[in-house]
Symmetry: C2
Subunit: 356 residues, 2 copies
Amino acid sequence: MPVNETAREIDQLETPVAIVDLDVLEANIARLQRFLDRHGIANRPHIKTHKIPQIAHMQVEAGAVGITCQKLSEAEVMADAGIGDIFIPYNIIGPRKLDRLVSLARRISIRVTADSAFTAQGLSAAARGARLELPVLVEFDSGLDRCGVRSPAEAADLARTIARLPGLRFAGLMTYPSSETVGPFVREVRRLLQPAGLDVECVSGGGSPAAWRAHHYPEVTEHRAGMYVYGDRHGIHHEVMALEECALKIIATVVSRPTGERGVLDAGSKTLSSDLMGLEGHGLILEYPKAVIYQLSEEHGHVDFSACAQRPQIGERVSLIPNHGCAVGNLFNHMVGVRRGRVEVVWPVAARGALQ
Amino acid sequence: MPVNETAREIDQLETPVAIVDLDVLEANIARLQRFLDRHGIANRPHIKTHKIPQIAHMQVEAGAVGITCQKLSEAEVMADAGIGDIFIPYNIIGPRKLDRLVSLARRISIRVTADSAFTAQGLSAAARGARLELPVLVEFDSGLDRCGVRSPAEAADLARTIARLPGLRFAGLMTYPSSETVGPFVREVRRLLQPAGLDVECVSGGGSPAAWRAHHYPEVTEHRAGMYVYGDRHGIHHEVMALEECALKIIATVVSRPTGERGVLDAGSKTLSSDLMGLEGHGLILEYPKAVIYQLSEEHGHVDFSACAQRPQIGERVSLIPNHGCAVGNLFNHMVGVRRGRVEVVWPVAARGALQ
């Protein structure tokens, strides 16, 4: 039985523990849904942040058209849990993965992306073998230099290739994150595809910060946001969400006070991840906001309390907002749902470690 | 069933996948054991690197006196798997954890550490309640500014406190990593404890780099090394081990080639972790040693191939040595053991996510 399975109060939870405030989580889910609904943009939340089927169901029940998974294994976990519409914005490559993809496409609604003819050809061979029609979006680079074709001409070329390939249907364009470049890019692809009679049916944008600007990119028809459900210190820093909108916290214990200034928490890089996200320090300690978690070892967080008038005793418990919620959600086997100080549920992070 | 459970050849494994070469693993385990045996130092390997009971048993069968776990939950997993002697060099704090600790101490041989009277008092209350005698080592700081008392006088004070507290036995000193400061520190503590008739029975040093210098610190009676079983790029960089002594590799697939210079792997921060360990780039690609993994997103590794004469095609598989083996071992649910190109075993990483 997981260590914290029988706890009823937050104070009974053994540390380090990841907790999510259910009132805040529900409010976050509802708020983005309302916003995207108001602007006529389909909501397709990215479950990479939480990897928990129960939260995915909450998102769908609130009005999401389906979910986004970054990995095929995540999609398998979510489909097994009853989610019926999944977008995997990833180049799925290799015969075994393609076999699994078509198995999944036989039982639920699946869309994928490609940014190369190589990927498209693999998808086509698999879909054709399974007598399926697989909707494929072309991934384009909106300025982050990650995956994606780089020009509207390349995008249009790949769209025509997809449209020609048996078993595939060209279903639109996808990028991460949504940005000012999306509009001109999409309009140019539309123009280039007109002679072939190809329509850009879906334009899928993404990012939690960009979610609240989604209506400024009128070409975008659906949005993929992940972090907005939990919130994190990076989101607060960039004013994407307020501190009280952060549902995810880590409860940690001060296990050592080697000097008057220094303290050590039982939360290190295997709890918080090493993702700095461009910030100073590895998290915000709510009880000691001036403290700096200046270094992490694997199971210890090293804190400089010198700027704090009050400093903690050994054994004291503190609450942290981590820098990167998506990384923290990936390190715990269980997420503890709390409401007004009481433990309400312990969710297995079912799609965690599903890397293939 | 885990995705790679049925693969028989390395080429059949779906990526990204963590593999460990069993010949190399066995050689690494045997080599450190021989070295420490030769120098009369007890070997107490740290399982934080692998978190796999089967590897812990290999270490014990090779001659280790027991193992080291960094967390109580790890120790519970290892005890359940039949390991009978565990050292937890950690301040164990709080009534629930202390209950679990004494439960564990009832069934196997357990030693712990303290660096404060607070920790020692908690251990004493728990051990006394359970009518046990718990061996406790005093943790001292050998220069890394992490946990541990800072001076021989503090160490001696805490040793006397432990010796006085019911249910506890002062069992020696512990530090990480072993360094030049250990000798003078230990000798001074010995001198200070002589009037009380207290002996420093065990001096536990640690670190994989320091393991091969353990005989230069004659006061050290046992050594805790973790990384030496797997090896990593950090270890190679610091000449702790040769490239061919690295047992752990990640197999990844090139999923995108957005430009002539850039490529994208299906291994990102959720596969490799964000631990840079002071190195440039996030791993060594064996087939393209001049390539630089310059950035990670969660499920993508972004590679600059511009220094490589040959560059990969989309769909090509590559092998990586990660920067930090201990972090990677923590991200996968399964470790695939291979021998001469064949898959021999798939081990669950049973103590992964055991954070409390």
